[in-house]
Amino acid sequence: MTIREKGYAHWDGQLRERRFPWAPITWLGIRLAFKKKYFKFIIFSSLVPAVVFLVGIYISERIEDFQYMFKGNKQILEVNPAYFKTYLSSDFLLFMMVMILVVSGAGLISDDLKHNSLQLYFARPLTKRGYLLGKANVIVFFLLLLTLVPGLVFIIFKLLFAGDFRFLASYPWLPLSVIGYSLFVTGFFCSYTLLFSSLSKNRRYVSILIFAVYLFSDILFGFFYENYKKPAFALLSLKANLQQVGSWFFRLKPAYAVPWYWSLLILLAFGIAASIVLNKKVRGVEVVK
C-alpha cells in the first residue's frame, strides 16, 4: 500500500471573462495597504492640509467675521485658481504623496518579482497591460484621494458656502484644471513608482530609490540655483517641474522663469522611459543571467 499526497484537482467550471481583469489586483493592493496601521495614519496626515484649505474656504466666505485675524489683509484668503494650485502642488502634499508611494507602491511589482509570481499572473487571462493597470490603479486610488477628491470638494463647498455660482462663472475651467492636474500628477507618480518597483526584488531598496531620486533632484536644483541663480535649474527638480506644470493648468505665472512646456516635456519623457523599462522588466518568464 502506498500513501500519496493529494494531487491536482481538475476544475470543471466554465471560464467567464471578466470585464476588468485587473480589478482584483487593484482591490487587493488597496486592501493590503489599508491593513497596515501606520498607512492609515499617513493617509489621514496627508488629508490635514485639505481640511485646513476647506476651513480657509469657509473663512473666505465669512471674511468679515474674521477681520481681526487678518488686519485688513484679505488677499491671503482669496479663493481663486492660485488657491487650488497652492494646495495641489504644495511641498507638503507632494512629500506626503512620495511617502505614500514608498509605503504602498514600492512593493507593487518588486514583491511579485521576489516571489516569482509574475508567471502566476500571466497564467490567467490577464495581459501585461492589464497587470500594470491593476498595479497602477492602486497608486491612482490613493493619489486621487489626496488630489482630485479634495480639489472637487473645495469647488463644491465654495459654491455651497457662497450660495451662488459666481465663482464657477468666473473660472468655468477650474474643475477641468483640477481634474487635469490631479490626473497628470497621479499619472507621473504611477510611472515613477512602477518603474522603480520593477527594478529590484528588494522592497526596501525600491523604497529608498523612490524617496532618494525625488529628494536628490530637488537638492540638485537647490544647489545650482543657490550658486548660479538661474531659474532653468528648476528643470532638474521633479518637484519644481510638477509645480511649473501646475501653474499652466491653473493659468498662473510659473514660479520660475522657464517655459512650463519644458517641465511638461521632461516629465513626459520620464513617463515614456518608464513605460519602456516596465515593458522590458515585466515578463512572465524570468531570464537568469
Binding site: M1, T2, I3, R4, E5, K6, V288, K289
Partner: protein, 308 residues
C-alpha cells in the same frame, strides 16, 4: 543507547496559537523521521531543538547541554532550513566558505571542507555559478551541503527532499543513510511517508503540535493498516457492484457518490477488498472509468489516528 537529544514537556505558543504542546522525547543516534502534515509543528520542533526559538514551557538538551544561547553547541549541529532561501548574489562556493568561516575554521580547512561538501552533493562543477541561477534541486543540495560541511554530530534536516527529482531524492537518501552508519544523529522532517520510510524505521508522528506516536515503522504501519479505507469506483453499473460487495464482512459501508455513477466503499481490509473487486469486475465485465481512494493520504491517516 544514550539519548543525544532530550526534550521535556516542550511547548511553544505563538500568541494564542499553539505551535507545540507537551513534547517529551528522547532521540538516539541514527536517523529519526519526523512525520506530520503541513502545519503539524515539525518546523517549530526543529527550531526549538536548534535554539532558534525559545520554548514557552519545557526544556531541550543536546549532549546533556542546554541549547539556548549555547553557541559552543552549534559547532556540533548542522541545520538545513525548510525555506528555499539563500544569499542569492553569492556563488555556491562563496556561500559555503562564508558559512564555514563563521564556524571558525582556518582558511585551508574552509577550502578543503567546502570542496568535500560540494563533492558529496555533486555541485563541484557548478560551485562558481551564482546561487540565483541554480535549479531547485541544486539549491536543495547546497542547503544540505552547508548543514554537513562542518562535520557535525547532529544533523537536523527540515524537509530536505522537497523539490528534488526522484534521482536526487535517491542520492540524498543514500547520503543520509551513510551518516547513520557513521553513528551520527540525523533528524529528518517530512510530510511524505514513503520518503521517511526510505530513510529510517524510527518515526515520530506529529500532528496539531502533539506527538501521538513514536516508534518503529511497523508499529506505525500497523496503525495505518487498521485504518478503514475509502475506495471510490466509477463504473457503468454502480448499483450492481454495490449489491455484490455488501455481502462481505470486511466491507463496512457502501454509499453512492453525488454523480450517481460511482460507489463509495469503506473497508478495513484493503488487500481482500481489492482482490474481490477485481474478480467482480472481470466476472461481470463491468466498464470502470476510475478507481480512487479519497482518503488515501497522510492527512486521512492522521485524522484516523487522532480519532476524528
Amino acid at each position: 543507547m544514550t539519548a543525544v537529544i532530550e526534550t521535556s514537556k516542550l511547548s511553544k505558543w505563538y500568541g494564542n496559537v499553539l505551535g507545540l504542546s507537551d513534547v517529551s522525547l528522547e532521540i538516539e543516534p541514527g536517523v529519526t523521521g519526523l512525520l506530520g502534515p503541513n502545519g503539524a509543528g515539525k518546523s517549530t520542533f526543529l527550531k526549538l531543538i536548534t535554539g532558534q526559538i525559545r520554548p514557552s514551557i519545557g526544556t531541550v538538551r543536546i549532549f546533556d547541554q542546554k541549547v539556548q544561547n549555547n553557541q559552543a553547541l552549534f559547532s556540533r549541529i548542522g541545520f538545513c532550513p525548510e525555506h528555499d532561501s539563500f544569499y542569492e548574489e553569492m556563488t555556491g562556493w562563496v556561500f559555503l566558505t562564508s558559512l564555514l568561516k563563521l564556524q571558525g575554521f582556518s582558511a585551508g580547512e574552509i577550502r578543503s571542507r567546502a570542496e568535500k561538501a560540494l563533492d558529496i552533493v555533486e555541485l563541484s562543477a557548478d560551485k562558481d555559478r551564482l546561487i540565483r541561477a541554480y535549479s531547485r534541486g541544486m539549491r536543495q543540495r547546497l542547503k544540505f551541503a552547508q548543514a554537513i560541511a562542518h562535520d557535525p554530530e547532529v544533523i537536523i534536516l527540515d524537509e530536505p527532499l522537497s523539490g528534488l527529482d526522484p534521482l536526487g531524492k535517491r542520492k540524498l537518501i543514500r547520503l543520509i543513510k551513510a551518516y547513520r552508519e557513521e553513528g551520527k544523529t540525523v533528524i529528518v522532517s517530512s510530510h511524505v511517508l514513503p520518503e521517511i520510510e526510505a530513510l529510517t524505521r524510527t518515526i515520530i508522528l506529529i500532528h496539531q503540535g502533539k506527538v501521538f506516536a513514536k516508534g518503529d515503522i511497523h508499529y506505525i504501519r500497523d496503525l495505518i493498516e487498521s485504518h478503514p479505507h475509502m475506495v471510490s469506483i466509477r463504473c457503468d453499473n454502480p448499483r450492481g457492484l454495490a449489491g455484490q460487495l455488501l455481502g462481505e464482512d470486511y466491507v463496512l459501508k457502501v454509499r453512492f457518490g453525488p454523480d450517481r455513477r460511482s460507489v463509495l466503499v469503506e473497508t478495513n481490509n484493503r488487500d481482500k477488498f481489492f482482490a474481490l473487486l477485481l474478480s467482480l469486475l472481470v466476472k461481470n465485465q463491468m466498464e470502470v472509468e476510475e478507481i480512487t481512494s479519497p482518503d488515501d493520504n497522510l492527512q486521512a491517516v492522521f485524522d484516523y489516528l487522532v480519532g476524528k
